[in-house]
Every structure is written in structure tokens, then in C-alpha cells.
Amino acid sequence: MTYAFAARPVIAQSAPVMTAEAHISIDAVTKIYQTKSGQVESLRPIDLSIRRGEFLAVVGPSGCGKSTLLKLVAGLTSATSGTISIGGKAVSEPPDGVGIVFQNPVLLPWKTVRENVMLQIRMRGLDPAKYADAAQRLLKTAGLEGFEKSYPWELSGGMKQRASICRALVHDPEVLLMDEPFGALDAMTREKMNAELQRIWAESRKTVMLITHSIPEAVYLADRVVVMSSRPGTIEAIYDIDLPRPRPLSVMGEPAFIRYTQDIRKHFFAQGDLDH
């Protein structure tokens, strides 16, 4: 198994060529929250394009608005100014071809694993019979075979999050949005989940936007890593991760990998946001 995109050329972010193949484009988007104590500027103008089939990771200090950025793309909140479009269509409400993995698995405790995955289908008013096979296949891929009839509270944290990834993928969306999906997991489970996510992505070739606060996770998974500054959030740098795929977990020990993580970490040192 070799992947064509292993040798993908490095394209500079500012190159206008990008817009031609952009799947998600974010143009001059800002977000200002109204709170009791006044206005809070969450995002300064953000411009970003994500290619079709690209795995993009966003890292940044907590409170930098990276989760807000994801919610904007998901259509769960609206931008103060600027536009976001997916596949050429402006996002004003949650779009059709999007699946979201939240920080917590948010599985319904009164439904089995399979019912939780199929929730995506039922809530969208799609025909469950058509998607039953897809659900079963995803559960198998995610290593949840034999747990279809288990309830969420019978699963470990990693299994719950895998079920929620299946739920995000079952309706075969073009775009997968993930908001710090592995933040609550222990380091070892997290690495395992990263490897599995890479495999699932390689098989499905979705356009992925992953929000994370783990630099190694971002470098390991992504084609490009976007570094955000602290509030109000802006894009500070974008790194093309030119590591061959599929990437084994051992890639994390290689000099090239370490160089990427160090380069990215320097931004946080400069911002004074790294305290470990």
C-alpha cells in the first residue's frame, strides 16, 4: 500500500493556485462574542483554504479561538464578518456533507453503540436500511465489532471516541471536523487512536480539519499544520508536513518529525504560552 499523496508537492499558503482546488475556504472571517462585560474578540480576520482530501490540523494555545473556527466551519455559530464556503456553497447553517467529532464522545446513554452511530442517519431523516452496512463496516474498522449492542457506559474512553468517529462518518460526509477529539484520553490510547485515525482517513480520503493542542499529534496526522496565536486568534504560521505516508508511530522519533515539532513549539515559546 502506497499513497499517491506521499509525494505531494509543498505548496506555499499564499499561492493563489490553491483557491482553484479549495474544498473549504475561509475568507476574512472574524468572530466577536457579546458578553455581559462587553465584546470579546475571538478571531481576527482569518484566511484559509483547505484542499479536497487534505488533512489539516490547527494548533494553538487554549482560548485562541481554534474551536470557534471549527464551529464556524460546521455552521454551528455564525461569523461576525467574512464568509466560509464548503464546496463553493456558503455556510450559513450546518451543511449536509459534514461530520463532526466533538471534544467529548457525546454518545446517548440510552442507545446502543450501533444506535448511536445510526443516530446520524435517523436525525437527518435518511433511510436507515441504506446505511446499515456502512455503519457495520465502520464499526469493524474502528475495532468495535462485537460491541454493537453494548451501551456507551460499558465502553472505555477510547472506544467511546471511536464510536463517535463512526457516527461522524456513517453518512459518508466529504468533510470531517474534529475538535480536540483525543484530549481526554491517556497518552498511550491517544497514540493508538492517532494511528487508527490515519488509517481511516487513508481509506476514506475525507477532507479533515482537526483542532488539537498536541503538536506531535498535529504533525503526525496532518498534511499541513496551522499555528494560531493567542486571543484574538490569528494564523501565525502554516507548516507543510512533508513526511511519507503511511506514517508509522515510530516516525515520531525521526529527526524530520522532531524538527517540525520544535519549529512549531517555538511559536508558543515566543507567545509565552508554553509552560512545560
Binding site: 450546518p94 459534514v98 463532526i100 467529548n104 446517548l108 435517523r122 436525525m123 431523516g125 457506559w153
Partner: protein, 283 residues
Amino acid sequence: MTIAAGGDRQVQVRTTKMSVTNILARVATSEAVKPLLLILVILIGWDLAIRMFGIPAYLIPAPLDVVEQIVLQWPLLLRESLPTLYATLCGFALSALIGIPLALLIASSRLIESYLYPLLVFSQSIPKVAIAPLFVVWFGFGMLPKVIVAFLLGVFPVIVSTVLALKSIDAEMIDLARSMRSGPLRTFLQIRLPHAMPGIFGGLKVSITLAVVGAVVGEFVGSNSGIGYLLQIANGNFDLPLMFAALFVLSMMGVLLFWILDAIEGLLVPWHESRRRDLREGA
């Protein structure tokens, strides 16, 4: 060596002793026996206290007299408990049928909440015992005032619990529903309502015990049937054993209704944290 053998024998004796106490302990701590055991202890204490301090029967009857009265007056007690049960169930049904939709309204809109909720709290602070005679004046003798008092006592916990349960849903869960492009009705039926079920049942369980109290209060002030009426008659005749017997029947009614609700909850909400213990222990 002999010391060791002696030690062994001692251990053996201790283990057999342990197993007997183990069995006793297991029986004593089983869920069904625990409350019965406590009742037995209270009854013995009650009986002893009457004998030791020479408490006259017109102040506190002896437990055996009460038991005798329960057995002797069983047909009467059963007959009189039916109207009380009927009023309780009607009041409870009204509490659920009116309380839950009201709670839905309150939880769905800030505006409705700000108008309605303070008024409900205000009305709840009026002592129902004080206004119960008014219902007799308005609605006459009989079933209706009883049902109304049972309803007024029972509805408040249903509303408070349901509002709380509906409101305490994760923002992420609502985001999930929105991301699936689900309409408000589907979100309510698939996510909000099932999520609130344990809280709603919590309110219903408090409500049903209060509905029993409400029905009896209604019977106190204006009725010629029911356990409340019987209690008043017994009180007037200084028939304390009958009074205690009536109280016993009343308590049993409350316990029974509570258990039935609890069983229904177990069927409808088997997934809740409070019900998982058995499953975990089995695993």
C-alpha cells in the same frame, strides 16, 4: 508441629463460624429484608417502651393491638382505602398531565419562565391544608376537592424536576443534534426528552407520595369516605389502635405506589447511572 496443628484446627473452627455468620449477614443485608428488619426492631422497641414506662393505651396503643385491629378491621380498611387510592391516582395523573407540559413550556422559553415560574412558587407557598375547606365550598362534598388538593400538592415537584432535567443538557449534545440538521421536534423526541426522563421520574416519585397526603387532607376537611375520614372518626372515638391501623394502610399505599413507579422507571430508564450497579456487579 503440635502448635501448628492446634492453630490449624482453630482456623477451621473459625471458618465454619464465619460461614454461619456470613449467611446470616447476607440474609440481613439483602435488599428486601433490610427494611423489614428495621421495622421489626422499631416494633420491639415500641412494645418494650410501652411495657417499661407503662404508657396507657389511650396515648399509644401496643403494636399487637394495632395488628389485631388491622386483621379485624381489614374489610373496612380495604373499603375505605379505595376512595383514597382513587383520589390519589387522579390527583397524581393530573399532576403528571399538567405538570410535565407546563415544565416543557417553562424550559422552552425564557419569557414564559419569567412570567410563570415565580407565580408557581408563590402558589406553592400557600398551605394547602388552609385552603382545602375552600374547595369544599366551591366544589362540594366528595371526590373533586380531594383530587384537587392531591393535584396541588403533587404538581409542584413534577414541574421543578422536569424543568431542571430539561435544562441540564450538555451544549455539546445540542450542537450534535444541530450538526445532524435535526429539527426541533426530532431533537426533542430523540434527545431532550429521553435525556430528561430520570429527572422527570424523580419528580413523579416525590409527587405520588405527596398526592397520598393531599388526598387525605381533602378527606379531613370534606368527605364521608376514605382513610382520611376513617382517621377522623377513630380520632374522635379515641380509638387509637384503629387510627394506627389506618395510618399503616395509608403508608403501605404510599410505598406500593412508589414501588410501582420505581418499577416503571426501571423499565423505561434502565440506562441511568442509578440503575447500573447490578449490571456492573454482574460483569
